[in-house]
Symmetry: D2
Amino acid sequence: MNTLLKRYRAVRQRSAALAAPLSEEDCCVQSMPDASPVKWHLAHTTWFFETFLLERHERDFQPFHPAFRILFNSYYNGVGDKHPRPQRGLVTRPALHQVLAYREQVDRRMERLLEEAGQQPEMLSLVETGLQHEQQHQELMLTDLKHLLSMNPLLPAYVEASPPAAPPLASAAWQEFAASVVEIGHSGPGFCFDNEQPRHRQFVESFALASRLVSNAEFLAFVQDGGYADAALWLSEGWDWINANALQHPFYWRCEDGKWAEFTLHGLQALDPHRPAVHLSYFEADAYARWAGARLPSEAEWEHAARTTHDFGRPALHPAGAGDAAPGMMAQMYGAAWQWTLSSYAPYPGYRPAPGALGEYNGKFMSNQYVLRGSSCATPEGHARISYRNFFPSTARWQFTGIRLARSL
Amino acid sequence: MNTLLKRYRAVRQRSAALAAPLSEEDCCVQSMPDASPVKWHLAHTTWFFETFLLERHERDFQPFHPAFRILFNSYYNGVGDKHPRPQRGLVTRPALHQVLAYREQVDRRMERLLEEAGQQPEMLSLVETGLQHEQQHQELMLTDLKHLLSMNPLLPAYVEASPPAAPPLASAAWQEFAASVVEIGHSGPGFCFDNEQPRHRQFVESFALASRLVSNAEFLAFVQDGGYADAALWLSEGWDWINANALQHPFYWRCEDGKWAEFTLHGLQALDPHRPAVHLSYFEADAYARWAGARLPSEAEWEHAARTTHDFGRPALHPAGAGDAAPGMMAQMYGAAWQWTLSSYAPYPGYRPAPGALGEYNGKFMSNQYVLRGSSCATPEGHARISYRNFFPSTARWQFTGIRLARSL
Amino acid sequence: MNTLLKRYRAVRQRSAALAAPLSEEDCCVQSMPDASPVKWHLAHTTWFFETFLLERHERDFQPFHPAFRILFNSYYNGVGDKHPRPQRGLVTRPALHQVLAYREQVDRRMERLLEEAGQQPEMLSLVETGLQHEQQHQELMLTDLKHLLSMNPLLPAYVEASPPAAPPLASAAWQEFAASVVEIGHSGPGFCFDNEQPRHRQFVESFALASRLVSNAEFLAFVQDGGYADAALWLSEGWDWINANALQHPFYWRCEDGKWAEFTLHGLQALDPHRPAVHLSYFEADAYARWAGARLPSEAEWEHAARTTHDFGRPALHPAGAGDAAPGMMAQMYGAAWQWTLSSYAPYPGYRPAPGALGEYNGKFMSNQYVLRGSSCATPEGHARISYRNFFPSTARWQFTGIRLARSL
Amino acid sequence: MNTLLKRYRAVRQRSAALAAPLSEEDCCVQSMPDASPVKWHLAHTTWFFETFLLERHERDFQPFHPAFRILFNSYYNGVGDKHPRPQRGLVTRPALHQVLAYREQVDRRMERLLEEAGQQPEMLSLVETGLQHEQQHQELMLTDLKHLLSMNPLLPAYVEASPPAAPPLASAAWQEFAASVVEIGHSGPGFCFDNEQPRHRQFVESFALASRLVSNAEFLAFVQDGGYADAALWLSEGWDWINANALQHPFYWRCEDGKWAEFTLHGLQALDPHRPAVHLSYFEADAYARWAGARLPSEAEWEHAARTTHDFGRPALHPAGAGDAAPGMMAQMYGAAWQWTLSSYAPYPGYRPAPGALGEYNGKFMSNQYVLRGSSCATPEGHARISYRNFFPSTARWQFTGIRLARSL
């Protein structure tokens, strides 16, 4: 069996596996406009293959269902109409089992296509894009589901078993880097999104980067020091936002009788001081850094530093702690939490979006968002990359987002 | 078997029967804050018996689930906290089957209670209130579901079969009534809500009432005459509302290629000129009446007229036409569509709300709503009453609401 | 000089006199969409005469300024376009002195018209409507200005001198009325608005009405008894409204160091226990009545009671107290504060709006508002009438609105 | 007389001179939350000297008026409370003449202070900051006033005389720059704001910059080519924004009978094809650039290019055209319109905000805004600088903002 076909099957099966413990109801509901139902993710990732692969390359193409063309288009104006995003959760029909049947039929047709015509480079590249796309949605399936479960007063768990205990955490160290012209962006073979190119030069003044992410214990100290009540620590816009929404701690934290707990995909858990603080907005990350006498890194700094020794985390439903990392090791660069940078999401010099409707994948979102680097515990195995640019608005809190501190030297 | 027990079973079974054709997903989703999920209706009506009957009268009362006390409280501040209304659709757990188990357990306990202690008048009255309450929610189950299905681009039907054909419609006649002091409000034995009392006197100047509801054909003439574009026909607030929302026809109507259709619980159907126009807001009803050189009736006028000969409709998923009613007959007083009156929802002179938390049932909603009289095709058999006061805000359009014209003589 | 001309001059001069103590800036600014600038009131009342009198009856009519036709139209769709209400305060030009020149020119032309053609009944009636209209705006000039000054942190006074001291207040008595058919609505000669007609019959069950308005001392007892924190006292909509806006006392009240004060047109004044509580919304009036074991009157009850002995207040910038009224006397029926009724603003049976654009004066506002009866301290002398129907939405608080309690017997 | 004193007088007098042609009303009103009344600008700039100079350095300091401390604080949390920004226009008292008296008194005291103690470096620096601050507000006085006048249906002019005719415009040329490490940021002596520092290195890949701004003729071609209707040209957020607001052309443009005109401080003027397109948002600038096959420059590119030959414009109420610039000349770098860059407003590496409350001047606004470079026709003489960083959100349109195109080579 060819490699891509094998990979195709593995990725597609993982999506279904993520949904397996869930009921029809769990898969149908949308808890906020930013989040989508699991059923929608299952259908939309299938739509992607149907639209960009089957429709272009299959002889006598017939859509599985004409209405799905609109229903499961996310945001590609170039492909035609689309169902309004805030109404994704209103679609009780097609039922979950019909969406699973949609997946099966498209998979059968995709496999035939891959067997017949699978060596055409353009098609290989499109299939790989489709799989990377599906992996992105696998992460969203978990974060969107987490948000939905958190809105339920019963605080149900996705998986009942508790996460493994986190080892005691050592202090963070500062890793120093000299000023230099660095190259960033994707190079060489292997897949990347269009926004990671072209590889280009940036000048980086000398800086230091923390050897691990900010922990729950550290962020709790900020909370208990009145961090959410001191205007001097916050960007003006962030200050207005936390006051308008009466925010006093991270999104999934709760304090009852003086004890802090955190909602996780394992249900409500005591706040573990040894794990990284997650589900932080850009504004909270920035305020924490100011309180700590530091700042957020730029994406060039992060990518430059990531070329040094580092470890990879493993996918999990909640981020592991850094424990007692080896000296000189950059811990938690990947696999724990996406790391906010102070770099706004902008095109690299010479950036060209992919041609056609796929050009809408990244470029049109390059305003008023910040780049996050690394990957999180919810990122599928093999999906992370040194040049990967994730991005969210400055108030987003439902992703596994954390803080790695930086300093100018 | 005692009568009340028999009635208890019949009413409770009808709720389950209404949900039977639906999937878990159909029952879980909330399509707007005003509407509730079918699952919520099934649970809340059960909560009502658990809270107002079992908790008060059962020995060693234990709630089915402590969290349900809050989760399925609709709006009774006197009973404690309540889950926010706009978030009713986010509760994917308990699952539908758990709510059905809740119903079954409460039913078993209620039946035992009814057998043991069923002759206490206070309890009988509370049980009857609970059944009337559940019947109200049965109507809402249908209207809320209709709204949900209408938000789906596939426009699925609740029941596939088409409604029976409507017979050709005769012209409406004006039934005249002389000025007099009339008595309105509930009297005699039988159940009523607190808002239907006390029976009291009102003076009604001479008036005439139309012998049937305004039909689709008649309302279409208003639409085609530019009714939605002529400020002189509208209340100021209604004019602002239709313009802000770009409204140009009734809620479930659609026009494609010059052909009018109407979304129904039977799916999309060609607009039938012989059926009554439904899903109209107070503002639309009032504007139509002005265009027709008439006005809406007051509730005293309606109740006075309803003492004359009239027919009763039969429950259906879509209102039947009035056909060729007998002379002197007031057709469609019940069983087709609720009829807007120009009477705002206010307490009758001497009104006293029921004691305790049940006093919140009606009285606290007596502001900025209009009374509707009669009943609709979705009203359960045996639920309608001459003194019945339904009420909705002036922009509500998702109920089966129509127009009966009146004139001062 | 003919009587109408004399009256014309007196009314018109009073508007200018009200504005005389104010600066250009005071007259220009709009403090909320519901309120209008004094300059706008001065211009709009002039526009009324220009549009409905001069344009129709003057030979070779030329508008003072073509743009004023739109700029100073309030809401008459039948007359043409209108400047958006929330933008009335953005019109810094024409300047105040130009609006005063507009007034002078129109007055000169109106006086000539009145001298030449002043005995035509239709014109006399239109002029009287224009004068009544201007008197309504004189009251609004004061209440809108009060709102503007209250938004200024310096809390400036319109008139510096303090109001005369209020005499000690005696307890309120209940005046009783037997059930009967009563006639309400305007009859006989003299001016009235179209909404006061036709005179018609209503049946009034037996009731009692309080002999004076609720006082500051009494309303303060409600506040201090936790009235704003007890859901059981409020209409559901009112409860949501006070919570969404964190309301805990009447609009212009303030509490500093345990001392209550009230913002008035005389500036901030200690809260006087002997004066009536004013600037109350319908929701507050209704909640107070429930707390006091009473209710609000209907407008038929009020009008029926007002035929008995009562006093008239005198125009002032703040309402006087009732003092120790004579037994059997209904105090403060007029001249202190408008009195909320539980009657929604609806057409009388047989109501016909005035013909033409003037038909928009009243009828199109008959939804979701409540009728207030009597008059306030800000109502111009000679403007009040037993059949007068004032109306505002249930959350309006910037008018001189108070409470007269009623009870069913 | 010392130089700073002379400069102090000149700057302060210019503010008063800008207000001189305006009425009290013109100076008082606020037309939207983003804009402030001219009177507020006059007072706030005075507050700045009172708070940061007199209060710190004057013996026996007494504030002019205690309430002004709060009333005219813009956003300095470190200084204490502040009056809410959207309510600046409600302050009809103090009157304009009182604010002018405030200015005079503070000027007298400042002049005494400058004469006595004017050689202390810290104070000199603070005074210079105050003057630069006032110059920024002078530009805002004009743009805020322009917005206010544009909201008046009469479209009044600030100055009646028409602007001088613009000479015919030559085609734009592309000026090329080789890749290199460049230094940007303020260096050497002379005033700068904290956000212009520290001077640091950036790597700039090779690029080309247009020799002049995009003209009205060119932007009109974009409009007429359907630029506002083609999703492919817009950032996703920008596309949603223009559709939600139904935008189809630049802010002050109007089209009547096929003729384009532009509202200016000289009143409505025919659209001049030879002048630069101004009052564009970031989204419009970005969409135009994409349509033109180009992009916006980064701020490093702009600052690097600005070291080459360029001209300075002259302050005016409307931007002049570039005419037929000399070859190799970068026209309109200054004095016509601020130029959007694709650089988000972020701290330079090593950035430190000024100490104390003045540290709130710039740093806390570094999120979700874009940097603009150069200066506009409304920028006071001597205020522009090569390292100057102006910043606005991506939807701001009421400033003199335009487009200089860039391309990667």
